[in-house]
């Protein structure tokens, strides 16, 4: 190839081809750029909205903010369950998290022993991605701030301020209110309100027992969300308060309980095992529902250690058991009030006299009484709680009539008080015997006298006995107990809206008068005086055999081994005229009802009466006007009288005309 071989014309042609093709190249580039512009237009002008959304969902995350759990307050607004701030430490699985190393690092700041580290490691490994696992609760401010400073270099670690449930009165309300605990996977249901796995977030608690469990959904509220800007690694860059979705707090629940009475119940019970229930006998409101001994619900919120739980579960006084609702006992002599009413309703003459010689032979055996009562009429028999009188009284009406009357007083019944756990107990009759004893379906006459004194098959819980006392005290209405006053401001139906008792008023009046006699001259003589002047208490004691004496275990009175002693009952109401409050007290294996439970019942009624403004007004006599010495006033110096002094002066002028 040599240069001269290229001719001029050829050179021109070569140039012409190049020019044409370079024009094409330019055209191609132009078309390419226009295509890019078109694609830009499509993305940025036509589909911009879609990509803006995608960009925002990249940029912003919504962090769940748990709703504050609803408060639980007593009838006067005293807070029984609330929330307090809580510094929490959490670890969430995310990219680059070495859970083991992270836990080791955290152990430098907060106490985490090896066993706990191993348990938390398993928990983190099993948790879904980005779901936080709580490492520590209730950190001190020092721990919280130390970890917060290190948090940026510890992926997945967050220390924040959450809320924890707190029960200011610890034990007094533990059985009624229950407690809250961490939500377990087993708590999640396939559908319904507990289907949402968001509940597994450490910010949520689920109610266990009592009001916390029964009203869990009302108390829970709805979670909100905090809008946070995150980078590609999911780290928070900033927050956007304007974009937050507010959490809806749980509803407030107002109980009918009175914190003062409930707390007093815990004080007066002390270490004794038993239950006390008090109702307003005008509307059925439960003012006190105590079961003792109790436990500190706050410890359950935190989570019990193994030994703590073992100690509670194995204690023979059964602190975890709500004896006010769940435990049933023979009512003992408190039942005589209803046997007497049955007799009266069926034409029994209250003047009928039986003589008590401490022993009475009938039906081929000897029936005992605790002492020689001599000749008694019905009223005296109630007051002195004579068994021999009531053996015979019961025989005159028979078990079915007694049972019918007892059921009218709520015995053997359960009530809708909002929380679960009531055991109906048993009021026996011939039909019951027939149903449950196929081998011996006949009610033997010898079983009636036992029923007449509240023993035998009859088993009742303290709430039922309080309902009985309240209905007797009310005399007219078949009151139902009410524990939940209102939920989120919506008042629950009153306990007075359930119709009337079908008994003659004079018969109930008779029983009430006999109960008044009990505390004046009867088994609980002296208890009627409450130290509140004219306000007196009426009641009925009951000493229920826990074991058959004949078996060698039963112990009458407060001696011998605790678990074999009799149960001590007392039901009462006050004031005797126009009763306002009724109470039932059971002391498990407490010995004599009148001496063990009676004073407790009186003390609880006293607190209730003292809190009642109308009662207070009645018993607080106006103070006699104090002698005010005449002040020697210098007529030359006229001091303008102070308003108080002026008032005193006018009063004196009016009283000394």
């Amino acid at each position: 190839m040599s240069e001269p071989s290229i001719f001029f014309a050829e050179v021109n042609e070569r140039q012409g081809v190049f020019h044409r093709r370079a024009f094409l190249l330019g055209g191609f580039a132009g078309v390419g750029l226009i295509a890019l512009g078109a694609q830009l237009g499509r993305l940025q002008l036509l589909e911009s909205e879609r990509y803006t959304k995608l960009s925002a969902s990249n940029q912003f995350n919504f962090k769940m903010t748990p709703p504050p759990r609803g408060l639980i307050v007593d009838r006067n607004g005293v807070v029984l369950a609330s929330n307090r701030p809580n510094f929490r430490l959490m670890v969430a699985k995310e990219k680059g998290l070495d859970a083991r190393a992270t836990l080791k690092t955290l152990a430098e700041f907060v106490p985490l022993d090896d066993g706990r580290q191993a348990r938390l490691f398993r928990e983190i490994s099993n948790a879904p991605r980005k779901a936080p696992v709580q490492i520590m609760e209730d950190m001190s401010w020092e721990q919280f701030s130390a970890i917060n400073i290190r948090a940026p270099e510890l992926p997945g670690v967050t220390a924040d301020m959450g809320e924890v449930r707190v029960y200011p009165y610890g034990g007094a309300f533990a059985h009624v209110i229950g407690y809250v605990a961490k939500v377990n996977k087993t708590d999640l249901t396939p559908s319904g309100p507990n289907a949402d796995p968001i509940l597994l977030n450490p910010g949520f608690r689920i109610g266990r027992q009592g009001v916390e469990e029964a009203f869990d959904l009302d108390l829970r509220g709805k979670p909100g969300a905090q809008k946070v800007e995150v980078d590609a690694n999911g780290h928070e860059v900033s927050t956007d308060p304007a974009g937050d979705i507010k959490a809806i707090p749980g509803k407030e629940i107002v109980l009918t309980l009175d914190a003062d009475i409930q707390n007093r119940a815990m004080e007066v019970f002390g270490a004794q095992s038993g239950a006390a229930v008090m109702m307003d006998c005008r509307n059925g409101d439960i003012l006190c529902l105590y079961s003792g001994p109790s436990f500190d619900a706050n410890k359950f919120v935190r989570g019990l250690t193994g030994p703590e739980y073992k100690a509670l579960a194995q204690y023979d006084h059964k602190p975890l058991f709500n004896k006010a609702l769940t435990a049933t006992y023979p009512p003992g002599s408190t039942f005589k009030t209803l046997v007497a009413l049955t007799c009266l309703e069926h034409g029994f003459d209250p003047a009928t006299v039986h003589v008590c010689n401490r022993a009475w032979a009938w039906g081929g055996r000897v029936w005992h009484c605790d002492k020689v009562h001599g000749a008694l009429d019905l009223k005296g028999a109630i007051a002195q709680s004579c068994d021999i009188y009531f053996y015979q009284a019961a025989l005159t009406v028979g078990p079915d009539r007694i049972a019918a009357v007892a059921r009218r007083f709520g015995l053997g019944d359960t009530f809708d008080i909002g929380i679960p756990g009531q055991k109906p107990g048993l009021v026996p009759d011939t039909a019951y015997k027939k149903r449950h004893f196929p081998k011996d379906p006949v009610w033997h006459p010898g079983e009636t006298p036992s029923m007449g004194i509240g023993q035998g098959y009859t088993h009742l819980n303290p709430l039922q006995l309080c309902v009985q006392a309240a209905r007797l005290a009310n005399g007219r209405k078949a009151l139902h107990p009410r524990l939940i006053h209102s939920v989120g401001g919506v008042e629950q139906p009153s306990g007075a809206a359930f119709g009337d008792l079908p008994f003659e008023a004079k018969h109930i009046d008779f029983v009430r008068a006999a109960m008044a006699a009990v505390t004046v001259s009867g088994t609980a003589a002296g208890l009627s005086d409450m130290g509140l002047g004219d306000i007196k208490m009426a009641g009925k004691s009951g000493t229920a055999q826990a074991f058959n004496y004949a078996s060698g275990h039963g112990q009458h009175g407060a001696t011998g081994e605790w678990k074999y002693r009799d149960h001590a009952w007392f039901i009462a109401f006050a004031p005797v005229e126009e009763p306002r409050y009724a109470v039932s007290v059971l002391v498990e294996h407490g010995g004599f009802g009148a001496s063990t439970s009676g004073p407790l019942a009186r003390e609880l009624l006293r607190v209730a009466l003292l809190k009642d403004p109308e009662i207070r007004a009645k018993i607080e006599k106006p103070m006699p006007a104090p002698e005010i010495p005449q002040v020697e006033t210098d007529p030359d110096v006229v001091d303008p009288p102070t308003p108080a002094a002026a008032a005193v002066q006018t009063a004196q002028q009016q009283t000394t005309p």
Partner: protein
Amino acid sequence: MTVSALTRPGERDRLINKVAEIDWLFCLTISLIAGAGAVMLFSIAGSSWEPWAAKHLGRYALCFGVMILLSLISLRVWFLLAYPIYAVGFLLLVAVDLVGHHALGAQRWLQAGPITIQPSEIMKIGLVLALARFYHGLSGKSAQLSWWLLVPAVLILAPVALVAKEPDLGTAILMLLTGAMVVVLAGLSWRLIAAGVLGLAAVVPAVIMFGLHGYQKQRLTTFMSPENDPSGSGYHILQSKIALGSGGLLGKGYGLGSQSQLNFLPEKQTDFIFATLAEEFGFVGCAFILVLYAAVIFMALRTSYLSHSHFGRLAAAGVTATFALYVLINGSMVMGLAPVVGVPMPLLSYGGTVMLTVMVGFGLVMAVRVHRYAEVTSGKGSLL
């Protein structure tokens, strides 16, 4: 200064006249693009000159000086050095294949003391020069259809094969297309062009099936349906489209692009810088930059028209083709029109190697312009 004055022998070789012949409007346009790059790099770094923006401007200044110096070098020198440069580039590519530096699973660099050499970049210029040199001595007829065409075929395919083996698919495609473009511009017969296109259409699927590395194949399948794997290999394309689309007409505002500022956008300072710009300045900003690129391509292509020598024409057009391909490939990739290949946006992206290559290429284009009347083969006139 009149044209008659310039026609005096030796007048055009005076430095002052050469400088005056440089296309300063062209220089302004590329400086605007590089400046826009610095503006974006400043924003991405969170309103900071470090670590990118200051370096970018510094490099551009340096490369600009190189470009001016190169533009003053006589086209005869370029012509003489065309084959040697190609040969050096080719030998270095072979050396890379044998002893090259491994990085990111590819063998692209040669380490010579403190200097890192990427032979494929030298080859981008060398290929254009060699092809222009070859066609300069080939008759129009032979360029159309003759056995001589086997020479450019080998000139193109040999380095492309070496680069593809590194593997650097992006550069290989770029070189192949650039070479093909020069061959077409030189006057290849339309029949052969058609045959070539058909041949490619037949060969490409086979290459995709059997000749690609695993990650290259994955990039292709990802490109076909990025939404299938949004957090995996489809991430780049999807995030880039989100950045573009969410920019809208006017953009999110300078420094406010959440996709780039919060690191959702990968390679935001290099290959995907256009997406960053699109996010913060919207359609208006993008259109402005595209117009600047179009102007650069137009001005460079016009230079090839002005040249009196076939070498100058083809060299300038070849560089223009390379530049245009850079812009189109990167643009398509960022906008989700092409699979992800490691091709940056020239002048806008951060990165010294490509900047130097492009500016050396522009130095050649400017040299073609400055020496457009010069005879490349005769011994007359100074070499500088």
